[in-house]
Assembly symmetry: C2
Homo-oligomer: 241 residues x 2
DNA sequence: ACAAAAGTGTTCCCTCTACACCCATGC
DNA sequence: GCATGGGTGTAGAGGGAACACTTTTGT
């Protein structure tokens, strides 16, 4: 129970990140569709020993929440190659963490491109977002919130850059979008939609053709690697000048 | 300066709300376009005495952040008729509030329909979002974030219900959308877009006609008064079954 | 009758979808 | 040549923007 005699507002501020990645199903072959996974860490101590939780920790005195989560991901799980970080929400139920102290969490979405495979401590592992193990505290809700945010932003921003390697083929990109969104995306239309917005540029090179032949695929890169809202108006566009 | 000797994570958690309303320009006449305004409170004490700040306060021990901001708005500024409340972001720069204590703020967007005019304490007043007075701390950034969130969500959700009275004419609704979005919205298309999504239903009644004549306007209501995402996919719609 | 305000019908245009068809490579 | 995967052309459809036109009231 929370001690009601404490002065108002005093609480422990923690930061947590749902780090998502579309991980290839078969390692070392780019084949397969890939699965959207989240980085979790198995708790050794009570409370919730043995359950899986999100990486993070306490806010340091001289950092804001985003600096804090970046520092902690780098320190604890050696994830330094985040291509995108954004706040999700505050999770603040008074009883969300048992114990004497009140703990308020600022949750983040973090994205890692599919081609990086950071070295992880023994107690850390990737888990499919759609088949989560037993999770600690309210961390399952945070993971689902992260997944939903990613899905939404893939549809009206250039956020695909954060899932993809520096260079990629359209069909590889199609696999990333399909895995993240949870439904098949057409390569044809994916290329046209992204090209029309000026988000893709060809590198000029082509990918080596596969073992069963086929035309070699052209390589592309994203023209920007910071997030950009490309479709701000679903309806009610402002009148054109 | 923040004292670096304090234990990690301990901080004061505060909640703040940018309460927005499209306020009619001429009171008591529904005429005029209305202006998007925010509720601010003039600080009497240092720090930042004389500057305008957002209502809010410290998180209580037995409430989550949303319950806290609703309680504080009701207590301090007697705003009880919020039609929508949602988290914006955490503001956590170590130096955002001068003093011995570290203060981390969870900022909210709150919406009040245009027809309610709550009684306000003497030190509280509405200010146009596009002509803010001197604001305290980082509160100006919070207000702008709230405005941007409102504008975005008006375009892909039914959030208009939170700005409008229970019953309204299309042209009154047009004024609300125009004031909030910052550009003229066509009444014709507004009605069709909202109707197509099933968000509007006619009450059957009509509004009294104005002093200068004209056909009496039909009254409508929103069919739902909780927020609903109506256009989740700007592009990359899932394939139809 | 005329002005004013509300509401409807119609056209245009843009862009996403779907699917057929062409291209480049390995065997 | 033929299978395989990559890329392009093109028709179709849906929906929002714009604007002309009709409807209903007051004077």
């Amino acid at each position: 129970m929370v001690d009601s005699n404490k002065p108002d507002g005093l609480a422990v501020s923690e930061v947590l990140a749902a780090v998502l990645q579309v991980r290839p199903t078969s390692p070392h072959t780019g084949a397969g569709e890939g699965v959207l996974q989240v980085l979790l860490w198995k708790r050794a101590l009570e409370p919730h020993a043995g359950r899986w939780s999100l990486p993070g920790g306490r806010l340091g005195p001289n950092e804001d929440v985003e600096a804090s989560i970046r520092r902690q991901l780098a320190e604890k799980v050696d994830v330094r190659q985040l291509t995108h970080v954004e706040q999700l929400a505050v999770f603040s139920r008074p009883d969300r963490v048992p114990g004497d102290e009140r703990v308020v969490a600022t949750a983040f979405l973090g994205l890692v491109p599919c081609n990086v495979d950071p070295e992880l401590p023994a107690d850390t592992a990737w888990h499919p977002v759609d088949a989560l193990p037993d999770t600690a505290f309210d961390h399952q809700a945070i993971v689902l919130r992260a997944r939903d945010r990613l899905r939404a932003k893939l549809s009206y921003t250039n956020l695909g850059f954060a899932l993809a390697p520096a260079e990629f083929t359209i069909s590889a990109l199609r696999g990333l979008y399909s895995a993240a969104l949870g439904y098949k995306v057409s390569a044809t239309n994916l290329q046209r939609v992204l090209s029309r917005r000026g988000l893709l540029e060809p590198t000029g090179a082509t990918a080596p053709t596969g073992p069963s032949g086929g035309r070699p695929a052209a390589l592309f890169r994203f023209s920007r690697s910071d997030m950009l809202v490309t479709d701000p108006f679903a309806v009610f566009k402002p009148p054109r000048a």
